[in-house]
């Protein structure tokens, strides 16, 4: 493992050297060329590899070799690593010769490693992109042929490179803790793996933060807030990791559920990272480009994961809480996403309109991915509806497994068929009672569609008078959603002033989604009256339909043909792909 560090650094050095070598070589002219040596062939090869790498990565690798920040951090890492070793050995003698002190030693190394990984690298990523924007180099970069995505990837790549270098530097020390016994490879691997994922996610998050604002004042404020947040996060993270290192003997490594839980947690890292990446790239993309569709695609990923994992854990662990919590999380997720998506403007640039779906199927399925406030609303609501329906199917299936008599109204054959098809499936014992579960789900959808739709209508009205930004739309939603809770509470408090013994759920609280949902889930006694959830569901659906009508204009957009000049250029650049091919539903 220790050889990793040397190869990483020599690679970097070689990158720099080969470039200088080329400069020299070019200036010296062809005389040198006539002696083909082993060395120049290696240089050529490195050069060709360098050509394939992201230019930003190459540049930053060269810079890092000369950068004071990197050299200081790297040296401090090594110094503190060695200091800790020396101290532990010096003070631990003679105990360390027979006691399993591995965990103790590892915690020290871990803290030394976690500071560059969890604080320095993400902050450096944040600063490096923010500085480009402040110094104007970002503009120079943005007019090259690099895409916004490549720029973010390059920055992320150089964060990754630094992480690898720091890891490699401390690798010998970590190998040393393994030799001290008391700690197993699994724990070391888990700790390093999770830290790697956290560092990577924090770096992407930092890159996203760097693109949020252009104003220098906000950048400075953001930079202070970000570094504080990193410090706080790093502290709690380290506490958690140290606790699990010390108690590593008690971690249930042999149980599959332990690994599944880990897999579940890690699986969410993918969409979160992708989302931050997409947002960062979207923010710095040229404004006439369609920046919304890629973000919407990524927004769907957590939904699949949530539904999949919750249903799995419900079936596997036989805990019906999972199915009560899932619709709530889905509702919160899509209302959150929707309150931002509804802040988009529906003005599609001619450029974005060149790539619109054209066929009927394509338009039906993909129109909701187009930028726009109305499509954003419908996108969020249709996703929520789909997820809730899948959950409903799962819960009903669970009920039927438990009690096939449910199918009797369809006729005896249905029951027999169902039983014969599901003989091998073990029924889940804890299944939510559909009579209570459905009102809750209806309420969740009704509230989500109703509040989000109402907020959108308000912003549409405001847009007639003035420009409404995404942040303003978001705040508008927050005000309406919290207002819906606070107002009825206040009213009821005023009405029943002085006599709070009768402070109970009444129809006045219909807009109070928190109380209403609480009544559906946990109401003592009879639960929510039927009329309540029916009203919520119906009102939500009506608001949804009104919004659908208001969205008609956004849906009308049709694909524009690229101008002649662009077609000419396209034909000149890619002469072969002249044949129009209809192979995707977008065409």
């Amino acid at each position: 493992m220790s050889s990793d560090s040397t190869t990483a650094t020599t690679d970097l050095a070689a990158l720099g050297r080969s470039a200088k070598g080329d400069a020299l070589h070019d200036r010296l002219g062809p005389e040198r060329d006539s002696i083909p040596s082993q060395w120049s062939r290696i240089e050529d090869m490195l050069d060709r590899i360098g050509d394939r790498l992201n230019p930003i990565l190459v540049k930053e690798a060269r810079q890092a070799m000369k950068s004071r920040q990197f050299i200081v951090t790297f040296s401090l890492l090594l110094i503190f690593g060695w200091l800790w070793t020396v101290l532990y050995v010096a003070f631990g003698v003679p105990g360390i010769f027979y006691a399993p002190v591995g965990p103790g030693v590892l915690t020290g190394y871990y803290v030394v490693l976690s500071i560059p990984l969890l604080i320095v690298v993400p902050y450096a990523a944040f600063r490096s992109l923010a500085a480009e924007r402040e110094d104007g180099t970002y503009e120079l970069l943005s007019i090259t042929t690099l895409s916004a995505g490549q720029i973010v990837q390059g920055k992320l790549g150089s964060a990754l490179l630094q992480m690898v270098v720091y890891y490699s530097a401390l690798a010998p020390c970590i190998a040393f803790t393994y030799l001290m016994r008391g700690i197993d490879v699994v724990t070391i691997g888990l700790v390093l793996g999770y830290t790697f994922v956290a560092s990577l996610l924090l770096s992407i998050f930092g890159l996203m933060m760097a693109t949020v604002t252009r104003s220098r004042h906000w950048q400075i404020l953001l930079s202070v807030v970000f570094v504080m947040a990193l410090l706080v996060f790093g502290f709690f993270w380290d506490m958690g990791v140290i606790a699990s290192i010390v108690n590593s003997a008690e971690l249930p490594y042999t149980e599959p559920v332990f690994w599944l839980t880990n897999l579940c947690i890690l699986s969410f890292a993918v969409p979160i990272g992708l989302l931050c990446y997409r947002i960062a790239a979207g923010q710095i993309t040229f404004a006439s480009e369609n920046r919304s569709t890629p973000i919407r695609v990524v927004l769907m990923m957590p939904q699949f994961l949530l539904v999949g994992w919750f249903i799995y854990f419900w079936a596997e662990l036989d805990e019906d809480e999972a199915m009560w919590v899932l619709p709530c999380i889905l509702g919160i997720y899509w209302v959150g996403a929707g309150s931002l998506l509804t802040g988009e403007t529906a003005q599609l640039s001619p450029r974005a309109m060149r790539e619109l779906p054209q066929s009927l199927l394509g338009r039906m399925a993909f129109t909701w991915f187009n930028p726009g406030s109305g499509t954003g609303y419908m996108f969020a609501m249709l996703n929520l509806l789909a997820a809730l329906l899948v959950t409903l199917v799962a819960v009903s299936f669970g009920q039927m497994l438990k009690d096939p008599a449910m199918l009797d109204p369809l006729g005896g054959w249905a029951r027999r068929l169902f039983i014969s098809l599901t003989t091998n499936i073990e029924p889940i014992q804890q299944v939510p009672d559909l009579g209570e579960w459905i009102p809750m789900v209806v309420c969740i959808f009704g509230y989500a569609a109703g509040y989000l739709g109402l907020g959108r209508i308000v912003t549409l009205i405001a847009r007639r008078a003035t420009h409404v930004s995404m942040l303003a739309t978001f705040l508008c939603h927050v005000i309406i959603i919290t207002g819906g809770v606070l107002l009825p509470l206040l009213l009821q408090a005023l009405i029943s002033w002085g006599d709070f013994s009768t402070f109970e759920y009444t129809s006045l609280q219909l807009t109070n989604w928190i109380w209403t949902l609480y009544e559906t889930i946990d109401a003592p006694g009879t639960g929510l009256p039927t009329y309540a959830w029916v009203i919520v569901g119906v009102v939500g659906t009506v608001v949804l339909l009104i919004n659908l009508l208001l969205t008609a204009r956004e849906v009308e957009h049709v694909r524009l043909k690229a101008p002649r000049r662009v077609q000419e250029d396209e034909a000149a650049l890619h002469p072969v792909i002249a044949k129009p091919h209809k192979n995707s539903p977008w065409d």
Binding site: A19, K20, D22, A23, D26, R27, D47, R48, D51, P55, I56, V58, K59, R62, Q63, K66, S67, D135, G136, T137, E139, L140, L141, S142, I143, T144, T145, L146, F286, A287, S288, S349, P350, R351, P563, R565, V566, E568, D569
Partner: protein, 316 residues
């Protein structure tokens, strides 16, 4: 192909850019032909940078569009970028980078690989005479060297259009002359150059066409001589006469093509409308009228005067 000649290489089409109530660019339209050097002239705050940034796909117009080689800067920024090199009025730099690495980075960013990149770097460095400075850290460069490096960066991908925003600003006379030579050389290589300045005289000799802009509006477009003639169709004449200066003034005052007659001792100054031929005819008439002319000189108005005439009169 015919397609090439059918559209101008640079076109501003009714370009507007407002910042709130500031009309930074207001209805600017003009075209630049292939291989021309276009001088974009206007006082500070006229809207030169704003319109050039739109052309360089760094900003979007409020209304209207700009085109490079027929491609819209709004809808096809990627195609525009491949054909265009932009040198802004600031120097964007990285710490811990030397000149070679700086140019190499931008060459890579423009997608140049392998031999192509080496060739581009070699050519650019020798063109801007940065060869000896290759290993020099950027921080230590002088203003003139920085400008050359900026120019090198703008031309590294061999664009057919170069946009230079006040490149001569803050340069010493020697560096200015060198820069002018480089721009001439670029034009000779077939590149179209759009170069801005707030000083007309600085650009007059190297531009085929100049456009004068003030407060976001384009006031005049044409070659320097055309604008000069259009703005000041008359010439200043100075005559030295022996003896009868007063009667000469009277004689001149009676003519329709002469105005602003002033007496200064032996000298008589006036403005004369017409071409050089009519000026020669006037001199012959003076001699025939028995005035003892000992000196006769004329000059058109200076570029500064022209610039003042254009920029002051129209928008106010």
């Amino acid at each position: 192909m015919i397609a090439h000649s059918s559209h101008p290489i640079i076109e501003f089409r009714r370009l507007h850019r407002y910042f709130g109530l500031t009309q930074a660019v207001h209805d600017v339209s003009f075209t630049v032909g292939r291989g021309q050097v276009f001088g974009y002239i206007g006082p500070n705050g006229a809207g030169k940078t704003t319109s050039m940034r739109i052309l360089a796909t760094l900003d979007l117009p409020t209304w209207g569009d700009a085109f490079v080689d027929g491609f819209s800067c709004i809808n096809d920024p990627d195609r525009v970028r491949r054909r265009l090199g932009f040198m802004p009025d600031y120097f964007g730099t990285y710490s811990d980078v030397n000149c070679y690495e700086y140019l190499d980075f931008f060459a890579r960013s423009y997608g140049l690989v392998g031999r192509e990149r080496h060739r581009a770097l070699k050519h650019t460095m020798s063109f801007t005479r940065l060869d000896e400075l290759a290993e020099k850290p950027i921080r230590g460069l002088s203003k003139g060297m920085k400008q050359r490096l900026c120019l090198g960066r703008a031309m590294i991908h061999d664009p057919s259009v170069l946009i230079l925003d006040e490149p001569a600003n803050g340069l010493d006379p020697r560096a200015r002359i060198e820069l002018r030579e480089m721009i001439r050389q670029l034009a000779a290589d077939g590149k179209t150059v759009l170069v801005s300045s707030h000083i007309l005289t600085e650009l007059a000799e190297m531009c085929d066409v100049v456009g004068i802009i003030e407060r976001g509006q384009l006031l005049a477009v044409g070659s320097v001589a055309e604008i000069q003639k259009q703005q000041t169709p008359h010439r200043e004449v100075k005559v030295r006469v022996i003896g009868s200066a007063r009667s000469l003034a009277e004689w001149l005052g009676a003519r329709a093509d002469v105005s602003n007659v002033k007496l200064e001792g032996e000298f008589c100054r006036f403005t004369h409308e017409g071409e050089r031929e009519s000026e020669a005819a006037l001199l012959r008439e003076l001699v025939l009228a028995n005035f003892a002319i000992s000196e006769f000189g004329s000059h058109s108005q200076s570029l500064e005067d022209v610039f003042m005439a254009v920029t002051r009169g129209v928008v106010q």
